[in-house]
Amino acid sequence: MAETRAKTIGQFLARQGILVAFVLFMIGFALANGRFLGIDNIMGVVRSSAILGVIALGVTFVVISGNLDLSVGSMMSFSTIVVLDLHDKIGPALAIPAMFAMTMALGALIGFLVGYLKLNSLIVTLGMLSAIHGLTLTYSGGKNMDIDDKAGTWFSFFGQDSVLGIPVPILVIALLAVLLSLLLSRTPFGRKVYAVGGNGVAATFSGIPRARVVFMCYLISAFCVAVAGLLQASRSLGSQNTVGQGTELDVLAAVILGGASLLGGSGTIFKTVIGVLILGFIQNGLLLVGLAFYVQYVVTWVIIILAVWLDIAAKRGRLLSPIA
């Protein structure tokens, strides 16, 4: 029956739509530009997605717990600027832990507001987005930050070196992805994150400390931002105050693309990694076919809308539904 076939295709699209779209994209780009599927280009995409990816790993926890984190972009600017500044003042060995402490303190503040005071995470993190930006500018006095002795510091190791032929940022994200994936999928804490995001009331009735779980998710998110800031600072050894600007949307797009629901309770680290790669390849493909980089902004938005729509459609079991 044509009708049932149309329905089956509709359901398949609703469930796998992102992957289908992605495959079509890849084929299109590969035809348009022979270099697209070359090993160099692939490694390049992976490498350039590493910073975004590291942040997305942390945000995955926040999203699964049923919240949002829109502050990660300006938080990353903050950690980048701070670590570059402290590098010359107290040396890299102290600058790195100091930067981690400061970034995670910001995460703890958000976690406190959203977890313990139960404030709306969209509002809190949107506010933090601009508050932290202000903090960064105050800290730097509005100036760009540069390391004096760029050639003589081991600090460039994280962003520029390779181990066994593999760039360090890729090793870092791989290691972090494995660890966080274990944490999320195999430990009691991970289970609690899903429960809190899936049904917070039922989680409370099951004796799960909801506030503490949410708090921990923001701490994890901030930790990942600090790692990303470190990679960024180490790669460039100098930075503007706005280096992370806009990252929050790319991160969110990647996490949703991977299939985490904004309603909370679903998603995995593995899927987020896939989401990051999809986003990375699409943005890279757009550049390779010769579109200006700012086209990415529009495309990213289209992708977010598409992903959210398919997410809801998959829940309803059909692409267009008369019921909300």
Binding site: K7, L182, R186, T187, P188, R191, K192, Y194, A195, G198, N199, V201, A202, A203, T204, F205, S206, G207, I208, P209, G265, S266, S321, P322, I323
Partner: protein, 502 residues
């Protein structure tokens, strides 16, 4: 009455991954007939009605409304074809008023599409008055009790000119008084020539209200009976393939020391000056009308509400219970009243839901031990006869009764010292209900202290060693199992005090 069925379903097949929920079921309802649909938990009753109500599309089979073939594209479509569905699981918008929920999707309009609020509230109040509900239709649904939410759900059905109305376990959270109102409504529908489908696990209701009974088992149609010509035993046999096991006779508990004592406990205007004791090895039933404060006492004992006065003593020592975590630490379990809202994470699988409160203890090294979890799940799946294709199934995909069993298994597996169950057999079929009652008695004989809160009098009478009757937040009287009977219990929960004090 005419000869044309109000609705007819023919050879309906519906499969879900791993489950053949409906295997060629045919079913019809005449106008002015109240047709009861029976079957064990997971037999396919709700699924059949969801097919009729446009929520699921059948894989095969046809639907006829007044013998006209019909395709139900969506719930709204079904409603426009005169089929109204009152759901087993509440499907209301908590943030909207009762009136807006009642007329959702078809709010009365003025010019320029503006909502005609005055008419909306007038009409809604009239419907609620017909249902003898005392609350204002402007009230937010989120602020209503479960019973009142259920009444709003029922009110929805009365806004349209229905050809057929489906009630899927409408009384699961209603008390007797509201039930009487509901039955009046159903009788009105019957005399208006509407075809009514009535799903329930309560035999007394089936025999009070229905004209005809059809039975489903494992997704197939098993036969129909005329209510007037049959009895409970025959229906049960058709349903579960055998007569009901006799429930173990109550062995009066070997009372141990006092496990839980409550002295002068109050919580705002929810309940006042409540005192009672529960011994080890004893089942204490709490009976009363909805709003009598029983659930609130349970929630206070479980650390979900802060008492405004009074003491809680466990094994003779006073304790402060500030959160469910502390309650669990003290060995208290609570099977909450609202399985969907409070009991389960619907998107998580069966096993994960069941082990959630003890997940931190089920570890091997830093990781959750799958083996330990699956062992717990298997044990309670067998004991409670939970019907699911496997532990990986999402709880949200289980039938209502099987979801309830997951919640019960979840709290039994904690091996609590004090077990509080709030409406434990809501939505559970007759066979499993007997099993759960036996289980509660077993637990008591193993030395657990059990509190059973229930709005079903037979249940309270059946499992309790002592019965506490509550009215308006106060304990009116305590009965021993020898003293208690239906009459004095009914009196007590309407607030009539007898001079004799237990």
């Amino acid at each position: 009455m005419t000869d044309i069925p109000a609705l007819r379903l023919q050879d309906i097949v519906k499969t879900f991954p791993g489950v053949r929920a409906l295997d060629g079921v045919s079913f019809q309802v005449m106008p002015g007939e109240v047709h009861a649909l029976l079957g064990e938990n997971g037999a396919g009753k709700s699924t059949l009605m969801k097919v009729l109500g446009g929520i699921h599309q059948p894989d095969e089979g046809k639907i006829f409304i007044a013998e006209q073939p019909a395709i139900m594209k969506s719930p709204l479509d079904a409603k426009s074809k005169g089929v109204v569905f009152i759901h087993q699981e509440l499907s209301l918008a908590d943030e909207l008023s009762a009136a807006e929920n009642i007329y959702l999707g078809e709010l009365p309009r003025k010019s320029f599409g503006r909502v005609d609020w005055k008419t909306l509230y007038e009409k809604s109040d009239a419907i609620l008055a017909r249902l003898k509900c005392s609350f204002d239709s402007r009230k937010l649904v989120g602020d209503l009790s479960i019973a009142n939410k259920q009444m709003v759900e029922i009110a929805r059905a009365l806004t349209v000119d229905a050809k057929a109305v489906i009630f899927d376990e409408p009384t699961a959270s209603l008390t007797d008084a509201e039930k009487v109102v509901l039955f009046d409504v159903i009788n009105d529908l019957r005399s208006d020539g509407v075809g009514v489908v009535y799903i329930s696990h309560r035999m007394d209701e089936i025999f009070t209200i229905s004209d005809k009974i059809s039975v489903l088992r494992d997704g197939s149609y098993r036969g129909s009976l005329v209510t007037a010509d049959t009895d409970e035993d025959e229906v049960t046999k058709l349903m579960i393939g055998r007569s009901l096991d006799s429930e173990n006779p109550i062995v009066p508990a070997k009372k141990g020391p006092i496990a839980l004592e409550v002295q002068g406990l109050s919580c705002g205007d929810l309940f006042q000056n409540v005192s009672f004791k529960v011994h080890e090895g004893e089942v204490v039933g709490f009976y009363g009308l909805v709003g009598a404060g029983r659930t609130e006492i349970a929630e206070t004992l479980f650390g979900l509400r802060a008492p405004s006065a009074g003491k809680i003593l466990l094994e003779g020592k006073e304790v402060k219970i500030a959160s469910p975590i502390e309650a669990i630490g003290h060995g208290i379990s609570l099977v909450p009243e609202d399985r969907k809202g409070q009991g389960l994470v619907l998107g998580m699988n069966c096993k994960d839901n069941m082990t959630l409160p003890q997940i931190s203890d089920l570890t091997a090294g830093p990781f959750v031990s799958d083996g330990a979890e699956v062992a717990i799940f298997d044990q309670y799946r067998d004991r409670l006869q939970i019907k699911t294709p496997g532990w990986r199934q999402k709880v949200g995909n289980l039938s209502g009764g099987n979801q309830q069993k997951i919640v019960i298994g979840k709290w039994l597996s904690m091996a609590p010292k004090v077990l509080i169950v709030d409406e434990p057999t809501r939505g559970i079929d007759v066979g499993s209900k007997a099993e759960i009652h036996n289980l509660i008695r077993d637990l008591a004989s193993q030395g657990y202290a059990v509190i059973v809160i229930s709005s079903e009098m037979p249940e309270v009478l059946r499992v309790s060693d002592r019965v506490v009757a509550m009215f308006h937040g106060e304990i009116i009287r305590e009965f021993t199992s020898d003293e208690v009977n239906e009459d004095n219990l009914v009196q007590a929960i309407s607030g009539i005090r007898t001079t004799k004090v237990a």
